[in-house]
Symmetry: C2
Subunit: 315 residues, 2 copies
């Protein structure tokens, strides 16, 4: 039975990159194992970045190795550049995530490269995959950051964001994600952009990454799901944000997103009560972090009915 | 110039009924005056209830009298019964709000009357208005509480909630509001119910009252606005809830709701920055209360464009 929607956990990467404390490797592995047991099918487990800059990811290889022991879990990692991607391929990672900012200003602030240079780096990663003969083993996913606007530059033309997506696909991306890195997206814009993208790209796997910075995270997921998007990022307790986007705190809360999608008749395959219990433990592990989200406080409605699971894989 | 959407402030009633501290009459009047100056066109300024049960509303007449001095403001009050409605008519209130629970169990817990008895009481209020010759001066609005489900009873059949709405209109309501008293509504249900209601009731003024208990308050407003609803309740900072609905804390945050509606191209006529400033003051006045909402923390996006104001009044 395949769920209608893939809700991908990014808390172990997008969440942890901003925490002030530490999370021991064993806790991370526990988090991953328990989420997989609760029905999570894809987890971005870590980031392949210099440990000097992000000591919390110094255990990336150990985390990946442990995650690879879990059956039926798609293990993905974030890599900011070719070097990180090479390490990820060495580690046998099945899915590598990379990010290109549609906003030139954000791209320079975030990775000190222009958008075009970042795209060129992605092309190098695709070539590396080919040189290593891994084109059938390693999926490459690429996010289009600041696709809905930028705190530095302001407006990002929708045509520019969609053009970046198209170029990434032409280069060899297996999945493209439109990301509201700074929490500027609204439901009207989300519906319009994803509708345009789906019409232009057809069956190509498109994903959405929203932040709840201005309270519209769930409304944006609803809008994207409405036009046919079936892949979403979220993080347990809404951990995380973007260090280079001021005020952009907060991924969409994982449990709340799963609840919303189920109410839309889209099965997630997730054990919501189990996720709420895990979230409470994670909150104890990271006592200095702000956990957001409503379901953990209020519980499921008495009237809640899970969406039926289908046998067909939707786009 | 008429805004597309009426966002009604209910914090001074639905919000204050649950606060642990007090708010002096002068502060309430200040809140009302400042909101009116920021473009708010309708405020539920108080509740005509026994002061013994709700001492915070003991100043109801003084608040109403001061609110009546403000030009272009529609002053409304909540009344739980005929007696309260008579007091409100004595005070010259132009709009009286009343509530009937679609859930029998909630109706008994909340006002110790069956749904049918509560409807009968509304009929008495309509007759009183007629006897006093006020049918052209006083609007009667009626909320259908627990229209989307009930924490006590569970499911509330959609047909039952819509039938209650129909009976209230037949009796003489000038406006009917479907209210998610306990925060059970989801966007799919909201769209379906309001779509059905609008088809059945045509041009009749339908309003929506959502709580953000499970994080879906804004997604629900978006869903209702999408099918044509143009009247919404919200409260500054999301103050309030329902004392008889466990866990049902939190109206939808006023500023966030206004922001969302503007992004949908629906003008609210509101000064969003001014509302955020007022909210900060209100938070200082009520230091023990939990203020929610995202915009006050994050600010408006750089890319924000106000919806153009139209000259036509929408439904």
């Amino acid at each position: 039975m395949t769920p209608d929607v893939i809700l991908r956990e990014v808390g172990l990467r997008d969440g942890l990159q901003l925490v002030t404390g530490d999370l021991p490797t064993g806790r991370k592995i526990d988090w991953i194992r328990r989420e997989a047991a609760l029905g999570v099918r894809e987890i971005e487990v870590t980031s392949f970045v210099p440990a000097s800059a992000f000591p919390i990811f110094a255990d990336a290889r150990a985390v990946v190795a442990a995650a690879h022991q879990i059956p039926d879990l798609l293990v993905s990692v974030l890599t900011p550049n070719l070097k990180g991607a090479a390490f990820a391929m060495d580690a046998g990672v099945a899915k590598i995530n990379y990010v290109v900012s549609a906003s030139e200003a954000h791209s320079m602030a975030n990775v000190r490269r222009s958008t075009a240079e970042a795209i060129e780096d992605f092309a190098r990663i695709v070539r590396l995959r080919q040189e290593r003969g891994l084109s059938d083993q390693v999926q490459l996913s690429c996010g289009v950051a600041t696709a809905f606007g930028c705190t530095i530059q302001g407006v990002v033309e929708e045509g520019v964001a969609l053009d970046v997506a198209r170029r990434l696909i032409d280069i060899g991306a297996d999945e493209v994600m439109l990301a509201d890195t700074v929490g500027y997206a609204d439901p009207t814009q989300v519906e319009r952009m994803f509708d345009t993208a789906l019409q232009a790209l057809g069956d190509f796997p498109l994903a959405a990454h929203f932040h709840d910075t201005r309270g519209l995270g769930l409304a944006n997921i609803a809008a994207a799901a409405r036009v046919g998007i079936r892949r979403f990022d979220a993080s347990l307790g809404g951990l995380g944000g973007c260090p280079h986007a001021p005020g952009a705190t907060g991924n969409v809360d994982f449990e709340d997103a799963a609840f919303l999608l189920e109410t839309m008749g889209l099965s997630t395959g997730l054990d919501l009560e189990g996720l709420i219990a895990l979230r409470k433990d994670a909150q104890a592990w990271l006592p200095e972090e702000r956990f957001v989200g409503a379901l953990a406080r209020s519980g499921l409605p008495k009237t809640f009915v899970r969406a039926p699971r289908t046998r067909l894989q939707h786009s």
